[in-house]
Amino acid sequence: MKISVNWLKEYIPVTHTVEEMANKISLTGIESSPVELGTELTGLVVGHVTSVKPHPDSDHLKVCMVDIGEDEDVQIVCGAPNVAADQYVIVATHGAHLPDGVRIKRGKLRGQESNGMICGLDEVGVPAKYMPEEFENGIYVFDEPQKPGTAVYDLLGLKDKMVDIDITPNRADTLGMRGAAWEIGATYDEKPNFKKPELNADKIKDLNEVDVEVEEKSLVPDYLLRELKDVKVGKSPLWMQRRLWNQGIRPVNSVIDAANYVMIEYGQPIQAYDLDKLVEKKLVIKKAQDGDKLKLADEDKVLNHNDLIIASGEDILGVAGIVNGTVAQVDENSKNILLEAGVFDGASVRKTAQRHDLRDDASNRFEKGVDNGIVSEALVRATQLVDEISGAKEISKEIVGNYTEAKPTVIEGSVSHINHLMGLELSTDEMVGILDRLGFSVKVDGDKITVTIPTRRWDMAIEADLVEEVNRIYGYENLPNTLPAGMETRGGYSQKREFSNKLRDVLLGEGMDEVINFSLLSKKEVDDFNTLNTEYTKLLHPMTEDHEYLRNSLIPGLVRNIAYNQARNNNDLSIFEQARIFARPKGQTRPNEIEYLSGAISGNVISDSWNTKSQKIDFYYLKGIVDEVLSFTNADAKFEYEATADYANMHPGQTAKILANGQVVGLIGKLHPKYQKDHNVDETFVFELNIDALFELNEKSIKSQSAPKYPSVSRDLAILVKSDVENAQIISDIYENGGKYLNNVTIFDVYEGKNIKTNYKSLAYHLEFLNPNDTLTDEEVEKAFSLVKDSLVEKFNVEIR
């Protein structure tokens, strides 16, 4: 809300610039920014149109003589349809500056000299949507005579200085000028002065003409009305209009304007009804029936049974606390009117306003709360203003639909505890002084203080609120900087986090870049890699189809990254992500969150260079990385790769499940060529590992051994074997038969093709024998080596080469 300095001055002295005020209010209370309207405007004065003649060469232009307070009237050509003699208007004189860099110069319009411009309100900075409707398509005309030649800025509020406060939901007490005056006053140690509104006692009558019934008393704790008879609805005075349009409210007529003015002044929304338009002289505040319609100027809103309405007979006058329909609208012909001041339940107003997209100034205030201690006074103020401006013959006493006594909140606190929570040592007097500045009254009893909070600060409830008030007014800049001084604690990561950090470091060391992807995927993406065969987890109200399901694999994200990069000619890629996937067991609504580590590589490992040949990525390159990760798990487990064709979007001949002690903990392989093509990626290999499962494996217990002092003995073995026999089968058989001194077996050649019979392949192994305690003899090695060969021949029918 924008707090006009001119308006504020009615309540407290103001000596600072708006910049200084905004800064100070931001630091002690509410985030604020300075606003200075019309800083660019110059040369705008009141003009009195003395004559209007048609333009000799134009149908719509007129030649006006205008008194602008100079020795002679000046001639101005004007195109506005509403210009007429004897009007008091805004004149932009020769050399005047208007908004958006417009500059007015003397000149000729179709041959006629023009010494300036007669302006509309929108041309001098009032937004078109906030100016009175009658001036929408023409120049602005003052209601009353003004002195020609005087500057127009103050008359129209064109150069108002304001502090725009951006309230948090708890400080709706400053959504009225009076509340804002209290807040700003407290920061400058100034108590505001308010005039109590009074009605002309002679006019008050027991009219007894209007009945009111509040059905939903719990949602409407206060509902008060006043009737004014025989008013003359007209235009509201300029001082009121200019304040309204600077608040972003369009002036309408003297009654509606007064109601809006009081809302800004007190923060209490006021509604007005034309009593003669009511079918019954009775208002009922009740829940709507499904299908009820509220007539608005440009549309009908279909209501439902949760909406609270103001009704008269069959007519729905308005939705409580939000908006009035057109049925009982006050217009220039209205004579007898009803003013309403009520308090409506915030949650109910909020839901209705949201449901019908009707949030406005009034609903905003009820949602956040209003001061139920000033409802009656605000109604008096509105009644007083309408009477003063529009002259009522008779005014009713307060008509009460519901009334709840406003009780001030009493908070008990302790000076030492409040100090303790701030980390300060204020004296009782200092603390009481600060609370007094806020208008709170304090009773002191030793360390104990009893603070009575006026109803305008309904956000205050507990001692912690006092801590905030005292601390902010005392000044956060005066707080010392300390650290918690309690018992020493040992900080650190969880064991699982340490574990995953370690594995992540391996991948970084292997040259893989870390990526972070979104957790929400499309339906297609969760279908693509449902490797865990889990139920999907779907958002109730997704925003887009791209982000509808919780991810069940990190691979779709990685593939998206590869495609994004390759589309930008970043072709050689090696990336990984460590994040959660969501796997929902059948019959459970909450998905399990499982930490995964996944990677993808595409392109070359080494690119062509002046001294090296490029090397393309393949399955075994990525397998090497995965092996290294697995070795860093330090798990006491047997890891195996088992060929699989189970995954639709993986290459059936180049994919393996990764097993730990027979349990699947991940997968590795090449993307299916079709999938690669659909996703615009080059040949890509991916892996995923279940970190949670790996973390659960037992830690290897390592007892150190000195490096053996005796030399090892090697034998090479070349065999010819059927193509479908896997390396893992051969290796495990060699170990089985190689005796206790067989220390290591590695494959060093695989060959298929020329010189090898079809469906056969040639494999070559390097066997290393070692006795840590003695030198091995040739006979010992030969014996073990032949056992190995014999077994291979027998089991796999290999040919030893």
Partner: protein, 348 residues
């Protein structure tokens, strides 16, 4: 010619030949020829029998000196030739050191994780435990336990992805507060934790909004926690992240789960508070929200607010990284263009 003269002439010739040698092989040959068993010196010494006995020791000494001198001349020349050889080899082996390296690549940790870990390390040093929470959370922990009941207007401030009436994608890492407080054994000392992680909001993605982003929640609950402790802790953090000269300031704010609540600004690291584009000419940059734990939040976790107090803060790694490295578009973090990612090698 006397033996004496013969030896002297052999020395002269030998030294001369050694000096003239061009290759190592010539010197080796010279050594064998002159000094070997079949060489001229040995041969000349056979004439010793003709020398009178009293002169023999003198001639013997001379012969040894001649051998030594020739040997020395050969060795000197050998050293000289060897040095030339090495110098030649070095010349031959000269390379262009400006040609590009054979690439050795370490991967780059994502800049958000670098930022998060830097902050984690700071707090670990102060004795904080790092406790991740659930990304799918109950309404109960994400809102109600944080003093945000069903109809609270603050729920408008964060539009939520719900999975069911009671389950949602957490909108704030503060959701972890309730779980940590109920799990903590206060007889073992204060609760000091940070909870980093991913949060979700129903926001359209644009340059400054992302439906998924990161937060780090901090919470300390003990018998003597004050606003001054909060200020000291956060100033130390901001100095760690943004530089030793930084100061912070508190501005009053509102969060339902803290009272008092503050926004925390850090003095601008770009202009040192003088005012620039980054700080919108205020000299200050808003970096996080904080406050003392609301007594209701403590109570709901079974903690007596008369005995204990708490401080809490929540910060955004995206915001920290964007400020620190001048990143203008939050979407860059999630597009994972490797050219973007790799520029942050080892910055934290």
């Amino acid at each position: 010619m006397s033996l004496d003269d013969k030896l002297k002439s052999l020395r002269e010739n030998g030294i001369d030949e050694a000096k003239r040698a061009q290759r190592l092989q010539e010197l080796n040959d010279l050594r064998v020829n002159l000094l070997g068993k079949k060489g001229p010196i040995t041969k000349a010494l056979r004439g010793m029998k003709d020398v009178p006995a009293e002169q023999r020791p003198e001639i013997g000494t001379l012969a040894n000196n001649v051998k030594k001198d020739i040997q020395q001349a050969i060795e000197e020349k050998m050293t000289e030739l060897n040095e030339k050889l090495v110098a030649h080899q070095l010349e031959e082996e000269k390379i262009d050191v400006t040609l590009p390296a054979a690439k050795q690549i370490q991967g780059t940790k994502h800049i958000l994780n670098q930022t998060i870990e830097d902050i984690e390390q700071f707090f670990i040093g102060l004795g904080y435990e790092v406790a991740p929470g659930y990304e799918v959370e109950e309404d109960h922990y994400n809102f109600e336990r944080l003093n945000i009941p069903k109809d609270h207007p603050a729920r408008d401030m964060q539009d939520t992805f719900y999975l069911s009436d009671e389950l949602l994608m957490r909108t704030q890492t503060s959701a972890q507060e309730g779980r940590d407080m109920e799990a903590h054994d206060f007889t073992k000392g204060p609760l000091k934790m940070i909870s980093p992680g991913v949060v979700y909001r129903r926001d359209d993605d644009d340059a400054t909004h992302s439906h998924q982003f990161h937060q780090i929640e901090g919470l300390v609950v003990d018998k003597n926690i004050s606003m001054a402790d909060l200020k000291g802790t956060l100033e130390a953090l901001c100095r760690h992240v943004f530089g030793a000269q930084r100061e912070i300031r508190f501005r009053p704010s509102y969060f339902p789960f803290t009272e008092p609540s503050v926004e925390v600004d850090v003095s601008c690291f770009n202009c040192d508070g003088k005012g620039c584009r980054i700080c919108k000419y205020t000299g200050w940059i808003e970096v996080l929200g904080a406050g003392l734990t609301h007594p209701n939040v403590l109570k709901m976790s079974g903690i007596d607010p008369n005995e204990y107090s708490g401080m809490a803060f929540g910060l955004g790694p995206e915001r920290f990284a964007m400020l620190k490295y001048g990143i203008n578009d939050i979407r860059d973090f999630y597009l994972n263009d490797v050219r973007f990612l790799e520029q942050f090698k080892g910055v934290n």
